[in-house]
């Protein structure tokens, strides 16, 4: 199971930029297709989506990195393991 956790980390790392790329492509497409009347609104919608999803995707990448580095092989049994920095 630990090996699976580790190698799936690569999938999460690769998934992250794929999602960002897909969202940017969609944003450009939808903004490009918007009429003059709706352009500003569509741009705002997609800007908000990109702003909010970008850090989430970075989070997914970090999650993948942690998995690859075996950080999830052992989950903490008590809070002492978390707060003992």
């Amino acid at each position: 199971m630990n090996a699976l956790k580790k190698y799936l980390g690569i999938v999460w790392i690769l998934l992250s930029p794929s999602i960002v790329g897909f969202l940017i492509w969609q944003a450009a497409d939808k903004i490009g297709k918007a009429t003059e009347a709706t352009k500003a609104n569509v741009t705002l919608q997609w800007t908000i989506i990109l702003i909010i999803f970008f850090p989430i995707c970075i989070g997914l990448m970090i999650f993948g990195y942690y998995a690859l580095k075996d950080a999830y092989d052992h989950l903490p049994e008590s809070s002492a393991e978390i707060t003992d920095y």
Partner: protein, 565 residues
């Protein structure tokens, strides 16, 4: 009285006091969304780009940006000064801003100040909501005995759904009492739900003032072990941050989409895609919520015996495999084609039509034709077709006859004919009869508004399927508070659990309607201009499936006996 009964009574008060406040916060947040169409008309000028921008900001920013931001601000505060005062503050902010929205005069009275004030108040609502849930869940969990943590915190989990129930119920009640027109006026009944909020919040504040601080936080504080910088400790240290990420991607992300798809998207789909009328679509949801809500408690309690992980993940998996089937059922039950053989011609009314010549272009008229199809099972489908006609001649001020072909009242392929008599410059009456077509151009796609009033059998079948969708919600959401609380240490618990919760629900869940609609757009082609109405479900299915995989592999089915640390 035995110790356990005293404990039970004490927990009852803690649960009641925490839940009522959280329920009111959800109620406050939902009424804005449910009344969005009226609010938009009252506070935002028509045909204005700026207005649309502000409206978008109010809806998008409040849910997606401000909620997680509120989670950070109030989570930090809750870990620094305590749970009790923090969620008291969020309640005051939420209640105050909701009541204030109900007091803001419309755009017609105060102009641009109206949408700007409403936007600011809506953002305060989002901020407050971001801080409330984590506080309430943490507070209850820190009081609950270890072996019943899932059960007690599941009461908090009912509040989001019951808040929706309360908002739906109050709005329906006032709307039915006043009638649509009076309800929608500038100072009409739509404001009452906002004003009622003040009363609810005052009661809740009085109750919450009587509450004492969480014993675990009080202990940590007395020992001088509170966090100095909760944000840094939550997200700056790998040991805790990895758990925040695991909570988000392995549990809350999937829960958010299941929650929204089972309740909001179901109602939107039934109303907008299946065309079920306003009252029926809301009644279906109300009844389903009422029957399904006890399942939150059931699955919360069950999680104390079998662990949190698999209840949540099985709920997600069932949702993944059943969504398309259940939503297809909604389409089948409300299909017009399936009803054609059941038309009750003795009860089906005559078509009624109105038309008016355009004030500026006298060669243009808008025609509207309404007819009801009554079916033998008791269902009534109303069709209102509108079209813009362009004439060869200016008929203003003349009496003329114009023929316009529409599908007949049974909505079969047989065609009927309607005649327009232009008697006055801006008003032309319609009557059935002579066929005299002098229309040179009409819209490529005439507008059709369909409103379906369901027969009793179909109505209850729909309730049954929505009930099932909400049972999935209760599976993933019922044990969630206990699960999140057990992941993080007391001194940074409020901050650590609030952020993933509000990203999962606010962002992943909140985007279900927007991204669902977007995906349906992808499927539209020349041959199939309506697209695949079920395609929008691929977003929640995809997110829930991904979350299931991550949760199944990385999460542990563990009940933390000691959350005192």
């Amino acid at each position: 009285m035995s110790t356990s009964k005293t404990e039970e009574k004490g927990m009852g008060f803690i649960i009641g006091a925490s839940s009522v406040g959280t329920l009111i916060e959800w109620y406050d947040f939902y009424i804005f969304g449910m009344l969005a169409t009226i609010i938009s008309k009252q506070f935002f000028p028509e045909d204005s780009g700026t207005s649309a921008l502000l409206s978008t900001l109010a809806i998008f920013a409040a849910g997606f940006i401000v909620r997680p931001f509120g989670a950070l601000v109030f989570g930090r505060l809750g870990d620094l000064i305590g749970r009790k005062y923090t969620f008291l503050l969020t309640l005051i902010l939420m209640g105050g801003s909701t009541f204030a929205i109900g007091l803001v005069p419309g755009f017609k009275t105060i102009g641009w100040a109206a949408p700007i004030i409403v936007l600011v108040l809506r953002l305060i609502q989002g901020l407050a909501l971001g801080g409330e849930y984590g506080g309430a869940a943490t507070y209850v969990a820190e009081h609950a005995p270890a072996n019943r943590r899932g059960y007690w915190t599941s009461w908090i989990q009912t509040t989001a759904t019951l808040g929706l129930f309360l908002a739906l119920g109050i709005i329906l009640l006032i709307r039915n009492k006043q009638g649509v027109e009076q309800f929608s006026g500038e100072w009409g009944g739509w404001r009452y739900p906002f004003w009622i909020s003040l009363l609810l919040v005052i009661v809740s504040i009085i109750i919450r003032m009587r509450m004492s601080e969480s014993p675990m936080f009080a202990k940590v504080k007395a020992e001088g072990k509170t966090s100095v910088n909760p944000l840094k400790e939550s997200f700056g240290h790998r040991a805790n941050f990895k758990m925040v990420l695991l909570a988000l991607f392995g549990a809350v992300m999937g829960q958010g989409v299941v929650w929204y798809t089972g309740q909001f998207y179901a109602q939107t789909f039934i109303e907008n895609i299946c065309k079920v009328n306003f009252v029926d679509s809301r009644n279906i949801l109300l009844i389903a919520i009422l029957f399904a809500t006890p399942c939150f408690i059931l699955f919360g309690a069950l999680s104390d015996r079998v662990g949190r992980k698999w209840i949540m993940l099985i709920g997600m998996l069932l949702a993944v495999f059943s969504y398309r089937f259940v939503y297809q059922k909604f389409l089948d039950y409300t299909s017009i084609a399936a009803k054609r053989t059941m038309v009750d011609l003795s009860k089906t009314t005559q078509s009624s039509a109105t038309a008016s010549i355009d004030a500026k272009d006298k060669k243009k008229a808008t025609i509207s034709v309404k007819y009801d199809s009554v079916y033998t099972d008791g269902a009534v489908y109303s069709f209102t077709k509108t079209d813009t006609l362009h004439f060869a001649t200016d008929y203003a001020g003349k009496t003329v006859t114009i023929g316009y072909i529409i599908p007949n009242k049974t909505d079969t392929t047989k065609l009927d004919t309607i005649t327009v008599n232009a008697k006055k410059a801006t008003d032309i009456s319609l009557a059935n009869g002579i066929t005299y077509i002098e229309v040179i151009k009409k819209s490529a796609t005439p507008g059709v508004v369909i409103e379906k009033s369901l027969d009793s059998t179909t109505f209850w079948k729909m309730v049954g399927w929505v009930f099932l969708l909400i049972v999935f919600v209760t599976m993933v959401y019922g044990p969630m508070a206990a699960f999140l609380v057990e992941l993080f240490p007391t001194k940074i618990r409020y901050t650590s659990m609030s952020l993933p919760y509000h990203i999962g629900n606010g962002v992943f869940g909140g985007l279900v309607p927007f991204l669902g609609t977007l995906i349906v757009e992808f499927t539209k082609t020349k041959d199939n201009p309506a697209g695949d109405p079920l395609a929008g479900l691929w977003y929640p299915i995809g997110v829930a499936a991904l979350c299931f995989v991550i949760g199944a592999i990385y999460l542990r089915n563990h009940i933390d006996e000691d959350v005192m640390d």
